[in-house]
């Protein structure tokens, strides 16, 4: 993974000092509430319903064990002993004291972490595929490009006061696990006929109040032009994005208003004078970035022997076998597996993890996975490089800590924002809905039988729970001061992204498990052999679901 040199460290340290001074001036009354707001937001600090929330950046979801242990320690020293993994792969503390945040940031800086630009109207943390570097369908590791973008976007002088927040995602594989069509800019690593690396660039995607699927602005951008091209897009947006209405301020609205042709032309116009300028990437810089993401020291393993051992272990222990089937996947290197650790045990808020669990995961990562951990936008953790032969021991340790829930990619692996329990923007609570649904569907055989199913829940239109792109999406709405829930069907992330369609009038919280039950029964009755929920929905449309859910009981 990327390692700071003295320059990176200096920038982060100076940022901490600057923020310490800003916090002090705010506490002394020299900075107004209004002036302090964007300053603290650009350091990840929100003021929530009950306490501040600090969002720490996990660049493209990658951490080492030293960093993970530091997060665990900080959650103990400054918080209530747990943290939350966000749907943008970041880590959130829910209860820090405003005056202590500079100390937390200084501690983070000591392990090469920060909270820069995790909030505010600026370029946010760049996200990517949680299986980068180990996925079997990967063309090229996206992380060197993410790191190049991270550095370019960090404290960028021109783009710190944009009309609205700005999110970039990068993917480098056949299957898009980074949801690039739902970002302000999506970057897909591609190769041209000559085998050279470049990017397909997609612009104007986004969720929120007006979900839009991004459109292609460039089909092949040669690699060296990445930063100048991004700069040109951002400049057009900074100048022309709407600032009069925050619901119309994202780049997706500008792209729609101008039309992609005119928008592309404006970008080309801004790009021409800076293209080939000093910000053009050099071969050395690209190689330098790549050098941090080379393969770890894999053992050359006897794959068939490992397979036999694993099979024997699975035969002896069906619970283990089930976990292997649900929570691990194929690795690029023979004899290794990718392990996803579910943070979706029933009875716990989705994506929450305690200090003790974090420390255990750090120990396991050191022992079994080259000391690295990844966070996922589905709010789970990943150990990317585990030898097949070590899976059984690993699973036993996870099981003791309540981290072996075998539900990755199934109904109970709910994506869920913090919602009304924490977030001051919420219309409704989201965690209790997730928990009620998990509790209702506690028969795992039924859950497995339902097949791959993404249930995404957001507590308001800001869509942090990505409800638009869940196969089933749930959105908290406010109806005359009451919490209600709107359901949508047929959303999907990936290269064939689709935005879910609203089912109909919204429901009360207590009705949600029942509503889910009706939706799922409808699917089970209508599905043809081998069809997933999404397949069936796409074949039969929304009506059968609607009829069942809204039918009057006789």
């Amino acid at each position: 993974m990327y390692v700071y040199d003295e320059y990176d460290q200096k920038i982060v340290d100076e940022r901490v000092a600057q923020y310490r001074d800003q916090t002090q001036r705010f506490l002394d009354g020299e900075l107004s509430e209004e002036q302090f707001l964007p300053l603290r937001l650009q350091n990840g600090l929100y003021v929530q319903r009950l306490a501040p929330m600090l969002r720490v950046a996990v660049p493209y979801g990658l951490m080492n064990t030293r960093q993970l242990r530091k997060i665990a320690q900080l959650s103990r020293d400054f918080d209530k002993g747990y943290v939350h993994i966000s749907t943008r792969q970041n880590i959130q503390f829910n209860w820090p004291q405003l005056g202590e945040v500079p100390d937390i940031l200084a501690e983070l800086a000591s392990v090469q972490m920060h909270a820069i630009q995790t909030s505010g109207n600026c370029i946010r943390n760049t996200t990517t595929d949680q299986f980068a570097g180990v996925a079997t369908d990967e063309l090229e590791d996206p992380r060197p490009w993410c790191e190049i973008i991270r550095q370019w976007s960090t404290l960028h002088p021109e783009f710190a006061f944009l009309p609205r927040k700005f999110k970039i995602a990068v993917c480098g594989s056949r299957q898009d696990r980074a949801a690039i069509h739902s970002h302000d800019i999506g970057v897909e690593v591609v190769h041209n006929a000559a085998g050279e690396t470049g990017f397909r660039v997609v612009v104007g995607g986004g969720l929120g109040r007006t979900p839009v699927i991004g459109v292609e602005i460039c089909d092949f951008l040669p690699a060296e032009h990445l930063l100048t091209y991004l700069e040109a897009i951002l400049r057009v947006y900074n100048q022309h994005g709407r600032r009069d209405n925050k619901y119309k301020a994202r780049i997706k609205i500008l792209v729609k208003a101008m039309g992609i042709e005119a928008f592309r032309e404006a970008v080309e116009h801004e790009w021409a004078p800076i293209k080939n300028g000093p910000s053009t990437l050099t071969g050395e810089e690209i190689e330098r970035a790549r050098s941090f993401f080379t393969a770890p020291d894999y053992a050359s393993l006897d794959a068939s022997a490992a397979q036999n051992t694993l099979q024997a272990q699975c035969q002896n222990d069906p619970i283990f076998a089930n976990w292997v089937k649900r929570n691990t996947r194929e690795h690029r290197v023979a004899g290794y597996r990718i392990v996803t650790i579910s943070l979706k045990a029933t009875g716990y808020a989705p994506g929450d993890v305690t200090d003790k669990q974090l420390e255990l995961v750090a120990d396991l990562a050191d022992r079994y996975s080259f000391g690295e951990i990844r966070t996922t936008h589905q709010q789970n953790l990943v150990l990317a490089d585990v030898e097949q032969a070590a899976l059984y021991e690993l699973w036993q340790s996870l099981q003791k800590a309540g981290l072996a829930t075998a539900n990755i990619g199934y109904l109970t692996d709910v994506i869920c924002c913090p919602g009304g329990d924490y977030c001051s923007l919420a219309n409704a609570k989201s965690i209790p809905v997730a928990e009620a649904i998990q509790a209702r569907f506690d028969d795992m055989d039924y859950v497995y039988d339902l097949g791959p199913l993404e249930l995404n829940i957001s507590g308001c239109m800001n869509a942090c729970g990505h409800h638009h792109i869940g196969h089933i999406g749930i959105l908290g709405v406010d109806k005359k001061g009451q919490e209600f829930y709107q359901v949508s069907l047929g959303g999907n992330q990936g290269k064939d992204t689709s935005i879910g369609k609203i089912l109909g009038p919204s429901f009360r919280q207590e009705d949600m498990p029942q509503v889910m039950d009706k939706l799922l029964t409808t699917y089970v009755e209508l599905r043809q052999a081998g069809e997933t929920f999404l397949d069936t929905y796409r074949r039969v449309g929304i009506d059968p679901f609607k009829e069942r859910v809204y039918a009057q009981d006789h």
């Binding site: 002036q35 404290l155 002088p157 006061f161 004078p273 800076i274 000093p278 990437l281």
Partner: protein
Amino acid sequence: MPRIIKNGAIVEEHGPEVLDLEQWLQSEDRARRAVVLEPGETLAPLLEHIDDIPLVLVNFPTFMDGRGFSYARELRERGYQGELRAVGHFIRDQLTYLSRCGFDAFQFEDESELEDALESLGDFSEFYQASADQPQPLFRRRA
């Protein structure tokens, strides 16, 4: 006489008369008049006269309106060498960003802030990106 920050020091300002963009473009002796840019205005007509402008002011109606940052960078990238002054409601915590975009003068609404504001100019000593005062991005300078 207003006091402003200019090239890192506090000075008394004796500037030329200030015209808005339209007036300036039509003015007979614009080479002796300053022009003030408001967010939303198009830079293109001004860029044609880049060598005639003695002083550009960029107004920030609120500090959250970041359009002025792009004006500054574009003017500098196209070769504007004269004074570039931020006016209006920007705040001292933006000074590093502003100066990196090419502003070399700052006229605060409240002059009592000037001394403290000078300190903010030194918040950072290293940056990743190319900027008006450092045309080489860090990746071309790393040892």
